[in-house]
Symmetry: C2
Subunit: 351 residues, 2 copies
């Protein structure tokens, strides 16, 4: 039995004050220690229930959909009377489930933003078997963003050696990986990011051939032509809007655009227009939407491919770790202004 089990403790939580419109603000969320939890699986709990201690929480742009009054069935609104939730890493403290033992480390979906959680139906979790790498990596390079980058790039984009790859939000949780996977494939790789510091990191720490600060460019098409005078073969789309419109005018024949996210659009009441779609015809461009869940069943391929790179330090992974749930709201909201540098993690506890 793990230490502390049986005690009644305060259970700090992050909740939504109300449904968000437009850009989320830190004040849309609050941290509360009003509730307590007994550190055991209560008698009468459904068969299969586990009690977990939450370690690392993942701050991800898609969470914005759950913060609003959603009309999308795939993105139900967060309840206002419970903590928000997302991907995360947790440790099993007590288990009434044959699949999970006390002490098991797990990562997966619908980890609540609180210190301890009783999970009555633990579905969609992976057990963590490799602990020689940072546990927080299971919110990033070895978690959902890793799956997104690995399969979104290698499967959907079908990259070939020597191709010219452009990545927006390039220093983010996904983009930094796509760039490194593309370099490992022998591609020429350029990223855009929102600050000089991020641009420097892309070039010095993440191995991008070139990078630029989109906030310093008045004409995105001119910037793209500077770095891709012969055009772009693969665009890994994370932002949408004006950048996509410029990219469409600078794609090479048979180019591919994988659309993993459009963070620039998530806080707008009305999406930005895109004008240049007709250019997909003459350039035979393929645009393809991508949802990482479709590849979760192939997770072991990511581990097999990426763990050796991590151990051999052939891939770097930048994380921005906010310490403690008290810093959770700012960390989450900061995603939408690009405050984070690298993968945004909230460390609830380190073990």
């Amino acid at each position: 039995m793990a230490s502390g089990v049986g005690q009644i403790v305060k259970n700090k939580q992050v909740k939504l004050k109300g449904y968000v419109k437009g850009f989320p603000k830190e004040s849309d969320l609050y941290v509360t220690s009003d509730s307590s939890i007994e550190l055991r699986v209560p008698d009468g709990s459904p068969e299969g229930t586990i009690l977990v201690k939450n370690l690392y929480l993942s701050g991800d742009p898609y969470m914005r959909f759950h913060m609003g009054e959603s009309q999308k069935p795939d993105f139900p609104s967060f309840p206002l009377d419970a903590p928000i939730s997302g991907f995360g890493v947790a440790k099993v403290l007590e288990s009434k489930n044959p699949e999970f033992k006390v002490g098991d480390l797990i990562w997966g979906f619908r980890i609540q933003w609180e210190e301890y959680s009783l999970i009555t139906k633990p579905e969609g979790f992976f057990k963590i078997h490799h602990t020689d790498v940072s546990l927080s990596y299971y919110t990033g390079i070895l978690g959902m963003p890793g799956i997104t980058a690995y399969f979104g790039f290698n499967e959907v984009c079908s990259p070939k050696e020597g191709e010219h790859v452009f990545i927006s939000a390039a220093s983010g949780a996904v983009g930094q990986l796509v760039g490194q996977f593309a370099k490992l494939k022998g591609c020429y790789v350029v990223g855009s990011a929102g600050s000089r510091e991020k641009v420097e990191l892309l070039k010095t720490k993440l191995g991008f051939d070139e990078a630029f600060n989109y906030k310093e460019e008045h004409d995105f098409l001119a910037a793209l032509k500077r770095f891709f005078p012969k055009g772009i073969d693969i665009y890994f789309e994370n932002v949408g809007g004006k950048m996509l419109d410029a990219v469409l005018l600078n794609m090479r024949a048979h180019g591919r655009i994988v659309v993993c996210g459009m963070i620039s659009q998530y806080n707008l009441d009305h999406p930005e227009p895109v004008y240049n779609l007709a250019s997909v015809i003459y350039n035979r461009v393929r645009i393809e939407g991508f949802v990482c869940f479709d590849y979760f069943s192939r997770y072991s391929e990511l581990l097999d491919a990426v763990l050796p790179y991590i151990r051999e330090k052939k891939i770097n992974y930048l994380e921005d770790v906010a310490e403690g749930l008290d810093n959770g709201p700012a960390a989450l909201v900061g995603l939408f202004s690009g405050r984070n540098i690298g993968k945004q993690v909230v460390a609830v506890a380190h073990e």
Copy 2:
């Protein structure tokens, strides 16, 4: 030697008065009989030259690009001092080319809009071997629109039995074929067109399950939801603009949009905006641009598949035949107001 060879005859031609801006008007073109031609391959002509009599000319939306002051290298402007040109069917009157014999029928690209043409480099022509079907079909179902419909639908869209298919400009040269190919695959097929007459033809002559007149619909999304309450699997895109934007909101998961043309955009100085691209993410939609030239090398597959259907009357093909070059300008310009019903052909001569 074919009859008439050696004579000097007037050679009626259709030319552009000047480069077109916005919607083309009939008065942007003119018909002239100012020039004459001697019906022989002149001495000193380059090796390989042939003299042809033009029979059927194809009026196609893409020709709009050549009518303007083009900035696209793939679509050079028509010269003002020569006839316009496009796909067509012609008969060889004299040949200095071992590949073409007198009397051969050919179809292909860069047939000039005139009665007779001297072709110094006959490249990109197919010989016509099957003459039990209408020769004009080689501008349509057995020509470029046939290749576009057949490979655009069967290859790019990967259709499966029972899937729900939507086709815009559905009674046009390409759309009417896509609908019939889709029915042959066992799909549910709905088309949009621009008049009640066309809608009736789609349902009565072309075997579409449903059809609607987009000019009578104020809300395209509502119209699409009426015919596709569970969404669209395949959209064969011929028009662009607002229709595409509505379709994006009604695609099913893993839906496919093949973009063969965007006729609604060709005459606009600034393309219409599309707002709903983010929806490709959650629905994993693939949008793919398509150029028929990529499939010309597989032309024999089209013949093998479609000739039996034509002979067995399992496929209908609606043509709108303008008689004589004098009616050429109106026929060509009419494409952009939807005046044509079915494939627009200009018959210069019937044999």
